[in-house]
């Protein structure tokens, strides 16, 4: 048993590698690669955003929007394109390597130089007095040195140790090169391989910023720092391109809505199917049995998203709907309305918004479970112990509820854990899109529309693993509930 579980868990590793590989190949195959896609998307959006009045007097409004090298570099960094293909691939699996700390350097002649670090928590300004370090300094000019610097940050501390000393309180430079030119040479020589001067000579854009200092650091220090580890196998998910947040956070934010849908439809399906299956079994062959059979089959046949479109049209808020029973979109009323409701009103508001999606999500799932319940109850009814109980004069009801029921629920219970977990993520992409429910399905859809590759990949990875774990859980469920089943013979 344990060896079986371990074996299954180990087999999940190649599966995960395979999925990432497949997706990596697909996203690399896209003409122009992800970079071109993202750039053209940004240009498109900028053009739409600008509208008609955005066009300059020169009349070249649409063509004027260009991605400057600095922006390109930032996109590249987000996509991880500053690494070679192998490292990029390994970074989505497992990888240990230091990232460059510096994400951009701007130099305005005669003013302060601004260095932005990768985590964007620090900025270094340089002026005639030397370096000034600021934490979270978004609107800093050279003088406002009041923001404290957190010396305990490992990244910065290690840069600091090797380059220039700053005063931990004021951020003023303590030692190191003092003249402007010397500092510039030093910075360029030590931190950046290649630098680009703008045509007006006023700006430095660093195109290759692998931090030399970091390469010099000891391997042990690199390995022991958890921040240097990357890859989805370590549950370190990339940053979404479009939403500028970690993918895992985006997924976490959407989870409650998907979970709400899932849990409700889970309990609804199970309770209805149990009741219907048992009653169908006890009235086997009756009109009730055949009518409900047809009904669950019709439900099974009806595609959920097609029904969703129909429901919104016929029972939604539209002007010529038959009845106004369900709202058009969302999981709750807009907050300005929702917050004014009493708790009863809030409850009703939630139910009201859930009727449509839940109907469409569950409509297809009754057939399988109901027939499973019915068949297994019937099967148990024909077992010797049930026949014997009947022969001894117990009523059919009594045999059903006291003896048969518990045994016949075995096949249902085994699917329970897997289904329960699966339901958290069950929100169908199509139904969530139609009802505009901001769940995981819609997240995947928008990610796909916006070609947010890191987000799609993280989504797929998480979905896949949840699916695999659910499968394992349901297999384990079989063994726990029914000791007759073993896995040892299941090889052939």
């Amino acid at each position: 048993m344990w060896s079986y579980i371990v074996k299954r868990l180990l087999l999940m590793v190649p599966t995960g590698i395979g999925i990432i590989t497949v997706f990596f190949v697909i996203s690399e195959m896209v003409p122009g690669g992800p970079l071109d896609q993202v750039e053209s998307m940004i240009i498109e959006q900028a053009n739409i955003g600008q509208g008609g009045d955005g066009a300059d007097a020169s009349g070249q409004g649409a063509q004027r929007i260009k991605i400057d090298p600095q922006m390109r570099m930032q996109i590249k960094r987000k996509l991880g394109l500053n690494y070679n293909m192998f490292e990029r691939y390994m970074r989505s699996l497992v990888w240990c390597g230091r990232d460059s700390l510096i994400s951009s350097v701007e130099l305005d002649v005669g003013k302060a130089q601004k260095i932005t670090f990768r985590n964007e928590r620090y900025q270094v300004y340089r002026d005639a007095d030397g370096f000034h370090l600021f934490k979270n300094a978004a609107t800093v000019n050279g003088e406002s040195a009041a923001i404290r610097f957190d010396r305990t940050d490992r990244h910065f501390a290690s840069v600091l140790d090797d380059t220039i000393r700053f005063d931990p309180i004021t951020g003023a430079q303590l030692d190191g090169p003092s003249s402007l030119e010397a500092v510039e040479t030093e910075l360029l020589a030590r931190n950046f391989r290649e630098a680009d001067y703008g045509s007006d000579g006023s700006r430095i854009t660093v195109t290759e910023t692998r931090d030399e200092l970091y390469l010099k650091a000891s391997p042990w220090r690199t390995l022991t720092d958890w921040d240097n580890w990357h890859g989805m196998f370590l549950l370190k998910f990339p940053i979404s391109i479009t939403q500028n947040k970690k993918c895992i956070e985006l997924i976490r934010d959407r989870l409650p809505i998907s979970m709400r849908l899932g849990i409700i439809s889970f309990f609804l399906t199970y309770s209805l199917c149990l009741v219907m299956g048992i009653s169908k079994a006890s009235k086997n062959g009756s009109t009730y049995d055949s009518v409900t059979s047809v009904m669950v089959l019709i439900g099974y046949g009806t595609p959920g998203f097609v029904l969703a479109v129909f429901l919104i049209r016929m029972f939604g808020p539209g002007s010529d709907a038959i009845a106004h029973l369900i709202p058009l979109r969302g999981i709750q009323s807009p907050p300005e309305i929702y917050n004014q409701l009493s708790w009863l009103g809030k409850l009703w508001d939630n139910i009201h918004h859930l009727i449509g999606p839940i109907t469409c999500l569950t409509i297809g799932s009754f057939a399988g479970l109901t027939m499973l319940t019915k068949n297994s109850v019937l099967e148990e009814f024909h077992q010797l112990y049930a026949v014997a109980a009947r022969a001894r004069g117990l009523s059919k009801r009594r045999v059903l509820y006291k003896h048969v029921l518990r045994n016949s629920l075995i096949p249902l219970v085994t699917g329970f854990p897997a289904r329960f977990v699966m339901m958290f993520f069950a929100g169908s992409l199509l139904i969530e899109k139609i009802f505009s429910l901001d769940g995981l399905g819609l997240l995947s859809y928008t990610a796909l529309i916006e070609r947010d590759y890191p987000l799609i990949m993280s989504n797929m990875f998480i979905f896949t693993y949840i699916g695999l774990i659910c499968k394992l859980l349901s297999d384990i469920g079989y063994v726990i509930v029914d000791p007759r089943i073993t896995f040892e013979g299941s090889k052939s």
């Binding site: 697909i26 029904l307 199509l430």
Partner: protein, 398 residues
């Protein structure tokens, strides 16, 4: 293939299941009725007889030259003024280059002033038109275009203005947002969906049988590797994978019409064989240890021969049981993709596109309700058939 008595017995059992058998008959009838859709829904006459010679525009594209003189210009619209002039005896002889490139449809192919006619005696003409003079791609005449968009069935006015030619337009189910006939799109879409589903079910059954068969028959390392591969491929959410591939496809190059449909078919094949492969693997895995296979092996029969001639005919149950469900699965995948805009390109008749138009334009009940009814009844019929087949063929459901 001669059917075994067992198979005939099961077929009889299926026929006895009234619900399933009737659904099967209805579906076959609907399919047979929509198969010659070109003859009933078309913007070209079925037969046109000009001065004693017959032409069949539904089946063949003609030029004016073919039809008795004039320019070597294809007749693109049989309701156009130019064609009417031609029938009245005027033969077009000179035209400018601008005339070329008129698409199909009832729209005039070119402005009349660009054509020079040669007046002759009126031609003797006899035409047989289809019942509904629209195909799925016929666009309305240009002067009516704006009004014909999203016109309800038999609409004669729009915003207080008379729709020109509305009464003879015969849009029994109105028009969609590009002014195309909904009923024609529905019928063509139904046929396309069913054909697509059938073809996909067949190819994926073949693919699945081959892959599953090889895995099950050879077992061991082949099976283990195959299982992992299937796990990886199957773990990726199907719709998402199809969307990614379709998105990739649409940016890969300019595929249009039939080529695009074919490419869509190919990418759908990539995912649809999985279910079948699982079943066939189980069948072959079981069969390879049975006596008849061992006997064949010991006689030196080659592996492909054993698989194809001996095991496969004994493993038809999952193929037949699975078929209706794999058809419905294929159709729903296509409809879902179309609905999300990742499927067929617009002029192609697609039920998913009609459904999404019905969702976008809530006021257009004549789009949404027919699309909903068609799709749902198609799916329910397939479910009934599938249920009946499973009851008849699967020994576990006896």
């Amino acid at each position: 293939m001669i059917f075994s008595p067992e198979f005939r017995d099961r077929a009889r059992k299926f026929r006895k299941n009234k619900r399933a058998f009737r659904s099967f008959i209805i579906l076959c009838a609907l399919f047979a009725a929509t198969l010659p859709a070109e003859l009933f829904f078309n913007d070209r006459p079925i037969v046109i007889r000009i001065d004693g010679t017959s032409y069949f525009p539904v089946f063949k594209d003609y030029t004016y030259e073919d039809m008795g003189g004039g320019l070597n210009v294809p007749v693109s619209a049989y309701r156009s003024t130019m064609f009417n002039e031609f029938l009245a005896g005027k033969t077009p002889i000179v035209q400018t280059a601008a005339m070329y490139g008129g698409g199909t449809g009832t729209d005039d192919a070119a402005p009349l002033e660009l054509v020079t006619y040669e007046q002759g005696p009126p031609r003797k003409v006899w035409m047989l038109w289809p019942a509904i003079p629209h195909s799925y791609k016929s666009s309305p005449r240009s002067e009516t275009l704006v009004n014909q968009r999203l016109a309800s069935p038999f609409a004669t006015t729009r915003d207080g203005k008379l729709i020109p030619g509305a009464s003879e337009a015969r849009h029994l189910l109105g028009t969609d947002k590009y002014g195309k006939d909904v009923l024609a799109r529905l019928v063509y879409g139904f046929r396309l969906s069913l054909l697509f589903g059938l073809a996909l079910a067949i190819t994926s059954t073949i693919l699945g049988s081959i892959i599953g068969g090889i895995q099950g028959y050879f077992g061991g390392a082949v099976d283990l590797v195959g299982q992992r591969g299937m796990e990886i491929w199957g773990a990726i959410p199907r719709l998402m994978l199809l969307m990614i591939l379709s998105d990739f496809l649409s940016r890969q190059g300019e595929f249009t019409g039939a080529t695009h449909l074919l490419m869509l078919f190919v990418i759908m094949n990539l995912t649809s064989w999985m279910g079948m492969a699982g079943h066939m693997r189980a069948q072959f895995l079981r069969a390879r240890n049975l006596d008849y296979v061992r006997a064949a092996k010991s006689l030196g029969v080659s592996n492909p021969m054993i698989m194809f001639r001996h095991i496969l005919p004994n493993s038809l149950t999952p193929i037949i049981t699975f078929l209706p469900f794999s058809i419905s699965g294929a159709i729903m995948a296509l409809v879902g993709l179309d609905f999300l805009g990742f499927g067929l390109k617009y002029p192609a008749p697609s039920l998913g596109d009609l459904l999404s138009q019905g969702q976008q334009h809530m006021e257009a009940w004549w789009i949404m309700i027919p699309a909903f009814v068609t799709l749902t009844s198609l799916m329910i019929l397939l479910t009934f058939i599938g249920d009946g087949v499973r009851n008849a063929f699967d020994p576990r459901y006896k």
